[in-house]
Each structure stands twice: as structure tokens, then as C-alpha cells.
Symmetry: C2
Subunit: 328 residues, 2 copies
């Protein structure tokens, strides 16, 4: 157990970092640039993590050798070993440095010591399950290989529906006009731009689907229903994972589920209810919007991996979350 | 009507060209590099078309001014105006030069003067319908925005099934092992590579799905069935287009459909039968594999657009297709 932990929350836009003492006091906080290795490369991702950890230690006036570093970084799952190796050889952290998905931050923010699940639904989607010391991922295989209710899937299916209406396969839908408004041109004239800007542009069209559905368009409603069902399917798999190998009478009586990501936040509580409507009665999932800052999750995960006791983490959490730099 | 036509068939790998006289004799034939404007850009695509037309005229010993040029080029649909403008200003072809999708070559090879449809199903998929002088496209909006039975869709859905089996959402499938064999590593360890190589690598996995289905895997069979149904849906829309506005008793009694592309060719006749099994009895589609060289279609389309009579085109076709350089 180290005297301090550094928790990092990294993504495609920025990397947030915090250095915390055993009493939960925030001794340093800094935000720097992108560290998603899929976007910036493994070398640059490791350099950002290294630089941020060093800056935080300097700012707090402590030795990096006294810190345990955990970085929850989007896109890191397929680079975990490479990033860890680069960091261990470059950063003088005897206790080590560990890297995982940024989803672990969300999970640890809301469920530091409890079993349960988190669903993130923004441009992409994924579900993470905590069962004791184990963390499982369900879904989240990226935009090309998964179709589970992400903003990208919702936008893509809306574009497909507009094109199907146009070429005579599908029925007319208000989505054609809504998407043309959002794109500034009919969908069939926007193909070059859609392929050039790809995932980000396609996901940015999802609000038009929610609007069309609210206004009664049946095609938009069917798209949202299908995607809510896909997210519910993640939670059914999460519940099976949580109960795997347990005799019926020792199973948990409920599964707390925390929702995060732009789609969940912007469409709460309707989206939560849409997901819940597809969960069968024998899966006792209790859905609510995530409310704790993910940077706390990064710090809490560092504490957990460094062997701090649940009591110490709980106490640190109450001090940390009351800090005006965090809660403000 | 010009003395000669030049027909071009361009794609992401090569551009095939032929110069033909009014009697159908092949006076020059050449193959050069890629001209898909999505891959090489509009400027380079126009440069390839221009250079190939000039080489063919020189080789045949005729003036380019005596030739009508038609280029059926993959990826050209969203660049038609830009490409045509670039070529008209650069090539001294008084009669003009016209550019369209490479699908038009296939359509004109098989249906130069008849109404009907063509389906191409390779890495991508699309359906083209000829009704008199009009040509309609159904589907073919590219790999991100369409889900209509292409090799890409088949491969993508197989990867998704393997990942769903892995994360507990889906049932076990022989696809997991088949795809791991093809990729040299389990699917979940191949994500970085799959995203780096994208569409081409994903489509290249479709043979594994046909193998697994033949060996009895239910998940693979369901994927193929779903994709065959999506292709049949294209043909139902094609039939509605063909009959649009016609009183019932004047409708055609049949719709010839020609199949092309790697998926159709490698899995014939099983794939043809799979598609046909999803076509309702009131759609009189007669499916067969395309057999005429698409370069003939490019030349025939040039003749048609240049105003040659159906009889002249038919006679030219019989001479052209007997040419040992073409049929051989």
C-alpha cells in the first residue's frame, strides 16, 4: 500500500488526473490532452500518462515512488500490455502502474465495493460488471463490430432507414427530413461527407431520431426500441455473469445498474425507462443515472488495486467527494 | 452517332478499356491502374480515364474526336458531375464523355435492350434496375450505411456473433473457431487488426461463414439466411420499380435478374437458391449468374448513350463477344 494514489481518466479529447492521500484529500489535480491509444498511438498515450503523473507528483510535492498509478483510458483495452510495459520501463514507480478501460473508472466511481453493472451509451456503448474482485466486459467491441444501442448505431440505422425510404425498400419516415436538416442536404447527397467524417458525424445524428420518435414517427420509434432492447440484452448477460455458478438461494436480490454517456444523460429518464421495459421480470436490475465524478472512480480503482481496505476507500471517498475542486 | 465508342470498366484495382467500331470489332484493348475516385481522388481518377482513352485511340489509329467515351467506374456515383466536368474540359471529345457507376456495365452487358435487374454481391452489394431508358439503383449505399447481404455484412455479423458468444449474450457457435483460424487469433484478440484493416479484412471472412453453415452451424445459417433475405428485398423493390404506374394487365410477365460479384460466383448455385427462397411468388424474378464480360457492357452502354440502334448494338455484340481477346 502506497502513501498516495494517482487516478487518471483518459479519452479522445482530454486526460484528467488527480493525486490523493490516504485520507482522501485531493493534493493535486490537472487536465491535459488526449490519451486514447487508438487515436494518438501507444507511444504518445504512454507519454501523456507519464507526463501527467509527474506533473501531479511535483504539484503535490511528493515522490512518484510513493504513488500507485491507475489510468482508466478509453481505447486502452487492446493496448493494456503495451502501455503498461512502456510506462513501467519509463516511470520510476516501484509499486507499479496499471492501465485499463475508462469504463473501470465509471464502475469504481459508483460501485467501488459492491457488485453491479454500468452501462455507457454515448457514441459507443458497453457494459461492465463487477463481481467481487472481478470485472467483466459485455459488448463494447467498437462501432463496426457491435450493435448495442450506441449513438452511432442509432444514427446509422436512421440513415439506413432514410436511404431505404428513398430507394423503395422501406416506408416513408420523418427521419428523411430530420436528417437532411441536420446534414444540410438530403442523406443520399451526403454520402461522401458521411464516409469522410464517419463515426463521429453518424453518432451526432442520434438526437434527430429522439426528436422524430417524440413527434410520433414509427420508424424512429422502432429504431429506438430496437436499440433500447440491445442495451437491455447487455444487462441480462450481466445478470447471468453475476449469478454464474451460484445456487439459486445465494443469488443477489438485486443488481444496481448505473447509466452514463451522452445518450443516457440527454434522454433521461425516458431512455432509462425504454431500456428497463425490455428487461424480463426475473432480472432484478435497478437502473439509475451515474452521479459520481469518474475521476473519483479512477482514484478509487487505484486504491482498490493498491490494496487499500474498503473502509479506508469509503472514508477517502467521503473526503474526496466533498472537495470543492471535485464536487464543484 | 460516332464512328467508334470507348468503353471503360474502372475499379479500386484496375481500369479495363476497349475501343470498338460500329461493326463490333475490337480495335484496341488496354488495362491500366485504379480509377475509383473514393480511393484515388477525383483528379487522379479523371487522369486515368483520360490517359486510357488517349492510349486506346492511338493504338487503334483513330481520332479521339471520332469516339464516344463511356466510363462505368466503381465509386463514381457521388463524383459523376465532378469527373465529367474534369474530363470534358481536358479531353477533346466533341461528342462527350459520360461517367456512371460500374454497375451500369454489368446491367448493360446482360440487359442492353431489355428491362430487368442485376445484383452485385461481393465486398459490397447493390441492385440496379433497367426500365426502358431509365436506370434505378436500390441499395448500394456503402458498407457503413447498408445491410443488404454483402460479403462485408456477412463477415461483420459473423464477428459480432463470435463476440456475443464470448461475452455471454449469444449462444456458442462454430464461427468462433472458424474466424480464429482465418484471423490467426481469437476474434477478441484481433480487434486492433480488424479496425486497422477494416472493410477488406472483414469481408474476406465471409467464406468461413459459408463453410460453417454447410457444416451445420445454426448461427452461421441464420446469418446467411438473413443476408439472402436482404438481397431478395432488393429484388422486391426492383420489381415494384419496374411495374410502377403500370396497370396490372400491362406488367411484364417476368423479371430477368443477373447475379455477379464474388459471393454469388463462389457460392453458386446455393446462394442463388437462398436468395430465391425469400422472393414472394408474386414477384416473377428469374435469377441466373451473369455470364457476359462487363467490358462488353461498358462498350454497349457507350453505344446506347451515343444513340446507336438496338439492331446495331445487337450485331456489334455478336462480333465483339466472339473476339478471342474478349471471350478468351
Amino acid at each position: 500500500m502506497h502513501d498516495y494514489v494517482i487516478g487518471l481518466d483518459g479519452g479522445g479529447t482530454k486526460t484528467d488526473g488527480v493525486l490523493v492521500g490516504q485520507d482522501g484529500r485531493v493534493l493535486a489535480r490537472r487536465c491535459v490532452g488526449a490519451s486514447n491509444p487508438n487515436d494518438v498511438g501507444e507511444e504518445a498515450s504512454a507519454a501523456v500518462v507519464r507526463a501527467l503523473a509527474e506533473v501531479l507528483a511535483t504539484e503535490a510535492g511528493v515522490h512518484l515512488a510513493d504513488c500507485f498509478v491507475f489510468g482508466g483510458i478509453s481505447g486502452a483495452l487492446n493496448h493494456r500490455e503495451g502501455l503498461t510495459a512502456r510506462l513501467r520501463s519509463a516511470v520510476p514507480v516501484p509499486g507499479g502502474v496499471e492501465i485499463d478501460s475508462d469504463m473501470v473508472n465509471l464502475l469504481s466511481a459508483e460501485l467501488p465495493n459492491r457488485d453491479g453493472a454500468c452501462i455507457i451509451c454515448g457514441t459507443g456503448s458497453a457494459c461492465f460488471v463487477r463481481r467481487g474482485q472481478e470485472v467483466f466486459r459485455i459488448g463494447g467491441w467498437g462501432y463496426l463490430l457491435d450493435s448495442a444501442g450506441s449513438g452511432y448505431d442509432i444514427g446509422r440505422q436512421a440513415l439506413e432507414a432514410a436511404l431505404r425510404a428513398q430507394d423503395g425498400r422501406g416506408c416513408p419516415t420523418a427521419l428523411s427530413a430530420k436528417l437532411a436538416d441536420a446534414l444540410g442536404a438530403p442523406v443520399q447527397d451526403s454520402l461522401t461527407r458521411l464516409y469522410a467524417e464517419g463515426k463521429t458525424l453518424i453518432a451526432s445524428l442520434s438526437p434527430a431520431v429522439f426528436t422524430a420518435a417524440r413527434e410520433g414517427d414509427a420508424v424512429a420509434r422502432a429504431i429506438l426500441d430496437r436499440n433500447a432492447a440491445a442495451l437491455a440484452e447487455l444487462l441480462c448477460a450481466a445478470w447471468r455473469r453475476l449469478c454464474e455458478g451460484m445456487p439459486e438461494d445465494t443469488r443477489p436480490t438485486g443488481m444496481p445498474v448505473f447509466l452514463d454517456g451522452g445518450i443516457c444523460r440527454h434522454n433521461h429518464p425516458a431512455w432509462r425507462d425504454a431500456i428497463a421495459s425490455h428487461i424480463p421480470p426475473d432480472v432484478p436490475a435497478a437502473l439509475s443515472l451515474a452521479s459520481r465524478p469518474v475521476i473519483w472512480g479512477a482514484a478509487a480503482e487505484a486504491m482498490r488495486r493498491d490494496g487499500w481496505t474498503p473502509d479506508t476507500i469509503r472514508h477517502a471517498g467521503s473526503v474526496f467527494l466533498a472537495d470543492p475542486h471535485i464536487s464543484g
